[in-house]
Amino acid sequence: MTNAAQSIKPHRATMGIWYEFATRHRASIVAVVILIFPLVMPFTALAVNILIYGLYALGFNLVFGYLGLLSFGHAALFGTGAYLCGIAIVHLGWPWYAAIAAGIAGGLLMALLIGVLAIRTRGIYFAMVTMALSQCVYYLFYQAVDLTGGENGLRGINVRTIDLFGLRIDFINPMIRYYVIAAFVIAAFFVMSRILASPFGAVIEAVRENEMRARASGYDVTLTRLLTFILSGGFCGLAGALQALHLSIVPIEILHYETSGLVVMIALLGGMGTFFGPMIGAAVFLVLENIVSVWTVHWQLIVGAIFIACVLFFPAGIWGTLIARGRR
């Protein structure tokens, strides 16, 4: 993973060429796949959903897979992004781009708040503290009815057209909406690839690998964890903001702990600590849910069983297993 191009050099002969290609051009590959994606999906809104949940999982995976902390409160980051974007449009009448910025800022800020309180705990305690804090956030937004619509959700986020450099884009058209959202997701993937390849990306992994050693080497472990959590909040906040624009409503369920659990499942399914894993996990999970729920109301039973089978037989996740095969 780290310095992939360097560390795989001696095995070049035995290694699949596609693997090296994929590692080198991971951002560009995502761009191409995202472009043709809605054409192969049963309907465009599903493709949009996959993009948004993939982005949410991408942000989550920075903390879960790369930093090595299991957060069970990421719904608060995703949800705050969605609500702040919605509030900016409904109550403040901000333009769409400012509302998205508000969503990102909301995710960053909420991550700072939760992070400051939770980051000194480890393992199961970190999961519990983040979950408890995200429940606090849930009730906060639930109670603030005037601002958030309470249990009815925040309605009326109507963005019909998007003005871009004098161009009026029809945001109601599903395909156009998909590509607008895809542009943000591609940008986010690019930023994530920069972060992972940066010096700080190496520090994140060092802290995951050995906290004591990282400290002795001169890294401030607590600050590194907090900054990573905040960065993760930015990605999740963006995902939330796009979700608000996509749905035209922010349901209160977005802050529910099920939303936190969902992203854990998506990341595990796709492959924790892998670059493409979150997006692939989101695609597999949501497509499965879509197919099975047409067929039976007990779709969760079947999707759950498939999830358990995946964790048992592919503990590295779908993408993680493929990568391991490719390296061999």
Binding site: T2, N3, A5, Q6, S7, K9, P10, R194, I195, A197, S198, P199, F200, G201, A202, V203, E205, A206, E209, N210, M212, R213, A214, R215, A216, S217, G218, Y219, D220, V221, T224, L227, L231
Partner: protein, 256 residues
């Protein structure tokens, strides 16, 4: 400053009356000592003497309950450990501590990076080429050049210990603290390690914690003997070897 035989010895590290208690247990009691720059000083003592506790106070792993630690004339008591690395103090761990899934080279490269870039999230780290070059030099120095692309967890025990030394050197320390660097090593690996330590000590100050006194008698300039959390004796290897108290509690053990 103390003048010894007409020359002023420069003190790099000094502890004044440091003590450490864990709950009611007194691990270390009132230790005052000075460490000269450029020397190899060994801290020895039987099991439970407080060697590791003292070591951890010196490297900032935890603060002392009492007393103060001074590095290059500056009070560093209670500073967070990552700051110690920035000041020029590096440590190796008693129990091998590396980044297991990273390559040997990346282990050292990350160690080097701590002085250059800790929070840059944008520039590609591949562009910090001088770090890779420095890492390669250190790999050669500690004898791990051939293992540079292997994951650290796949290295043999002795190689992991050498890697740790390399990582400690990465922060370009003026003071190198080694906690039982030969623990669990074969006699052959031990000899290699001792040679390496002597080599390293030519350019920097080394403080060594060691359980086996015999190992350090030959290479140390000065020896501190701890016993039951107290400083029992201090002096040159010759003086320590002839010290009656030391003989009783330490060397004498073998005769019974």
């Amino acid at each position: 400053m103390t003048a010894v035989a007409g020359q002023t010895k420069e003190i790099i590290l000094r502890t004044r009356g440091v003590g450490k208690t864990f709950g009611k247990f007194v691990a270390l009691n009132n230790i005052s000592a000075e460490f000269s720059r450029g020397a190899i000083t060994s801290i020895i003592g039987p099991n439970g003497a407080g060697k590791s506790t003292y070591f951890n106070l010196l490297c900032g792993a935890f603060p002392p309950t009492r007393g103060s630690v001074e590095f290059e004339g500056r009070d560093v008591t209670g500073l967070p450990q990552h700051r110690f690395a920035h000041m020029g103090i590096a440590k190796s761990f008693q129990i091998t501590s590396v980044f297991p899934q990273l390559t040997t080279r990346e282990n050292i490269r990350v160690g080097l990076q701590a002085l250059v870039s800790r929070y840059d999230i944008w520039r590609p780290r591949a562009r910090l080429t001088e770090l890779v070059e420095r890492a390669d030099e250190l790999l050669a120095l500690v004898g791990l050049w051939d293992s540079r692309e292997r994951a650290a967890k796949t290295l043999a025990h002795g190689e992991q210990r050498a890697l740790e030394i390399g990582m400690a050197l990465a922060s370009q320390p003026r003071l190198l603290l080694l906690d039982e660097p030969t623990a669990g090593m074969s006699p052959e690996e031990t000899r290699t390690m001792m040679d390496l330590i002597v080599k390293l000590a030519k350019e920097r100050t080394v403080i060594l914690v060691e359980h086996k006194m015999k190992l350090v008698l030959g290479i140390s300039d000065r020896i501190l003997v701890l016993h039951h959390g107290e400083l029992l004796a201090e002096g040159t290897p010759q003086e320590v070897r002839q010290n009656e108290a030391v003989k009783r509690v330490y060397l004498g053990q073998r005769e019974h």
